[in-house]
């Protein structure tokens, strides 16, 4: 196998990051504004009794899934046309989604902190009502771990779905559910989102820390490897 150019991998990640900065910043600002408005409306009408920001992750994680879909369909051909190999793109794209997941997790944690300050000043309880790795919004480390993994898993699933469609066309519709497994399994493994409730209804036992995090990481890694395996000899259209 030809030697890998680390500078090229960094360049791919760097261009992807700089190309998505504005979109990501805009989306997070939009979600923050929506939840601030929702919070203000609830406070002005029924009165707040639980954390509003606790529901903020649902929109972003599906946005990140769609961002992952675009990686192979919209970006890969432009990179290959500029001399980048699929392997370099897979590695650079991996760094990119890791960075996006970490920053997005930091935004989620920051949101809890800001909400905690506002609720504290107003004497309101910041009660969590959805399943998480953490039991309190001030457990910043666990908040970061949960959302970094959840967002990373959704990015990987989106990337795998997009790559399957780029390679197989509409036949890939049959692969959407298997390709979504990293996102679904990670939610389940770390007790986040709606899958734990579904699992409980079916009588499954949800693994907890640290096994859940390890399982989530393994699933994410498996999803990335699967994406690379589909990409590595994928023909690209020239028209």
């Amino acid at each position: 196998m030809p030697a890998l150019r680390a500078d090229r991998v960094r360049a791919v990640a760097g261009v992807l990051v700089s190309g998505h900065r504005c979109v990501l910043g805009g989306v997070w600002l939009l979600f923050a504004a929506i939840f601030a408005l929702v919070g203000a409306t609830i406070a002005a009408t029924d009165g707040i009794t639980t954390s509003v920001w606790d529901f903020a992750s649902y929109g972003p994680k599906y946005f990140l899934l769609s961002l992952g879909v675009m990686l192979s369909t919209a970006h890969l051909p432009a990179y290959v046309a500029n001399g980048v190999t699929r392997r370099e793109f897979a590695l650079g794209g991996g760094l990119f989604i890791a960075a996006v997941a970490l920053v997005s997790a930091a935004v989620m944690a920051a949101g809890y902190l800001v909400e905690g300050l506002i609720y504290g000043a107003a004497g309101l309880p910041q009660e969590l009502t959805t399943p998480h790795l953490y039991t309190s919004a001030d457990q910043i480390g666990l908040v970061l771990v949960e959302f970094a993994l959840v967002f990373l898993a959704h990015l990987v699933s989106g990337w795998l779905i997009g790559t399957a469609f780029a390679r197989l066309g509409w036949s890939a519709i049959a692969l959407v559910v298997p390709a979504a497994l990293p996102a679904l399994a990670t939610d389940l493994a770390i007790n986040s989102g709606w899958t734990p409730a579904a699992a409980a209804a079916l009588g499954w036992t949800v693994p907890r820390l640290p096994a859940g995090v390890a399982l989530g990481l393994a699933v994410v890694l498996a999803g990335w490897v699967a994406t690379y395996l589909v990409t590595r000899d994928m023909p690209l259209k020239t028209t």
Partner: protein, 301 residues
């Protein structure tokens, strides 16, 4: 800049049941300008897509400096495939497209890019999606030339340009080639516009290499013999006639095959005119039907 040789041996590419390239063999020496000609569906884009690492061959080998392009970074960084409209980000501004290419292309010439966007009047602040077809073509060409890749292939990349811009492109290409010699491959339908640039010509026909010749040699292989019909008929008897036109008693027959000095002298003595055949006419004749193509393949290497 030294340009590596491009070598194809038994190169074959299939899309399902369709064979796009069929057992194609050639060697392109580095540092020359090649014309890649062929009718629609002849396999030109397929060949260039293999060169750029867009896909793997189904059979045979294509190598650049001895290595296969697919997923070899040492090769892919040496090849620039310029297409129309090209893989550009619609949402990006022109300046961002140039910044992107600058980061990805190790030999990027920013001054060249700046000069070309100015010459083709491509607005740097505009988003790609808002550009006209012609400006998108100009941007693709700018990225391709400024990449300074040792192998630069233009796949109909300039068809969106209007005629003055196309001639400006030919000027820029020649000037750039003179100062930075490298392998240039031009795939085109506008043969006569660019024929003077070609040092060698490859003609693909139904996925097979019909011929690969030095362009001067190719031109000398064809001749238009014009004169009184009876004299022309006698002269071309035994030669491969590619086509004929008749106007009253005068007849013109295009023949394929080199006319030696003796034949040329006899033609002149018989009052016949011998003229070179435009490359486009030769191309049309050669690819008009399979029988003619088969008759002409003696020159393929």
């Amino acid at each position: 800049m030294t340009s590596p040789d491009v070598v194809a041996r038994g190169l074959t590419l299939r899309y399902g049941r369709t064979t796009a390239l069929d057992d194609v063999t050639f060697t392109l020496a580095g540092g020359r300008i090649y014309g890649l000609l062929g009718r629609n569906g002849a396999g030109k884009t397929s060949l260039l897509s293999l060169l750029a690492g867009f896909r793997r061959p189904s059979g045979g080998r294509l190598t650049v400096a001895g290595a296969e392009p697919f997923e070899d970074p040492q090769v892919t960084e040496q090849v620039a495939l310029v297409r129309d409209p090209g893989p550009l980000y619609d949402m990006w501004r022109v300046s961002e497209v140039l910044d992107f290419a600058a980061r990805m292309r190790p030999r990027w010439d920013a001054a060249c890019a700046e000069r070309l966007v100015e010459r083709f009047e491509v607005p740097l602040r505009r988003r790609v999606m808002t550009l006209s077809h012609g400006k998108k073509s100009a941007l693709s060409i700018t990225v391709g030339l400024a990449a300074r890749a040792p192998i630069t292939a233009f796949d109909e990349a300039y068809l969106g340009l209007d005629a003055p811009s196309r001639y400006a492109f030919y000027d820029e290409l020649l000037a750039d080639y003179a100062t930075h010699p490298r392998t240039i491959i031009i795939s085109t339908h506008l043969i006569e516009e660019v024929a003077s640039l070609f040092e060698e010509v490859l003609i693909l026909h139904r996925g097979r290499l019909l011929l690969h010749e030095d362009s001067d040699t190719l031109r000398s292989r064809g001749a238009a013999v014009t004169g009184p019909a009876a004299a022309v008929d006698r002269f071309v008897d035994g030669l491969t006639a590619l086509g004929e036109r008749r106007l009253g008693p005068t007849k013109s027959v295009t023949v394929y095959g080199e006319l030696d000095g003796e034949r040329t002298r006899r033609a002149r003595a018989a009052g016949l005119d011998i003229d070179p055949v435009p490359l486009q006419d030769l191309f049309v004749h050669l690819t008009e039907d399979d029988a003619r193509a088969a008759a002409a393949t003696g020159g393929a290497s």
